[in-house]
Assembly symmetry: C2
Homo-oligomer: 180 residues x 2
Amino acid sequence: MELSPTAYVILGMLGWRPMSGYEVKSIVDKSTRFFWAASYGQIYPELRHLAAAGLIEGKASPQGGRKRNVYRLTPAGRKQLRAWLDTDPEVYELRDEALLKLLFADATGAEAAAATLEAKRRTHEQIVQRLKAIEATGKPEGFAYLVLRYGIEFNQWNAGWCERTRRALEDEAANQRRTA
Amino acid sequence: MELSPTAYVILGMLGWRPMSGYEVKSIVDKSTRFFWAASYGQIYPELRHLAAAGLIEGKASPQGGRKRNVYRLTPAGRKQLRAWLDTDPEVYELRDEALLKLLFADATGAEAAAATLEAKRRTHEQIVQRLKAIEATGKPEGFAYLVLRYGIEFNQWNAGWCERTRRALEDEAANQRRTA
DNA sequence: GGTTGCATGTAAAACGTTACATGATTTT
DNA sequence: AAAATCATGTAACGTTTTACATGCAACC
């Protein structure tokens, strides 16, 4: 039974406690979003798929007149989750348009490169702010906190690199003007 | 004319010098691979697409009896490349299965978490080694060198975080044993 | 003569986002 | 009364990988 990593996002969260697809999505947006995004277009079909495979069980739990399906792990699902956790991680992918623009910046020059660096710095800075806001509203327990700290420190490092590199470019440009 | 970022990988490389699809792929594997991968399944169709759009021009340049198509930027293609370089980067995506496993590690415990951290550390360490090997065989010029340095420092930071965190987990476990 | 590298391409499958559609409930 | 939030889902589209298919040339 080969599952996609996104299926394990669902399995992992249902391992914390039973929840609806809507809840899975809102927790994804507060936790995995910065290193593993997932949309409704993936979550709802995947819930059905996992239920059909017997790894989770759905139960209609309407809140008033508002329909709602709460899913929970089956013993088979928990076993599958543990087996996945016990194997080495495989997927590691990065897509960073800013680095692409930096790589080709010879075609436009140092000013465009500085603008790209500044935009990338802002992106990382914004993520730091959002993650710190999450940390402030009640820090998560256990390993979730470790991952949150990673997110903050990782993005701070990135923002710092952009800042240092932009300054180095500016100093270089200033030196060239002085020497010329 | 909306192009995918992968199309700009091609445009950017043809901005350096004319080359074949095969060459584009081999340079991708030596440069953008760690932040923007591209396969033959994308490159060859995209070359045709860009040629049809008048942004690049292909010319049959066989080497002996071996067929070969070399492409170069048209003035319209260079204009398009510069316009893209002058706009702020948008795509920034990360997919890291290791962080996912770490997030859910409560279900298995500290040992599995340590193994995940160690696997992630190895991944980053290997990338550092490959990038350093590229640096040793003739460092690239201009902005390409900046991007290479980013790759090395970024992966070193990541490997370091994994190492520090794994040690912190071990110390914590040791303290608990002592207190218990 | 075999392996590696150069060279081009396609087809199917997997993966993922976006936009759309619908409707109830809670908060302002 | 309007806006935000809860809640579920689908369809179309775009992107990307993987596997397959082919063949020449250079080196060992």
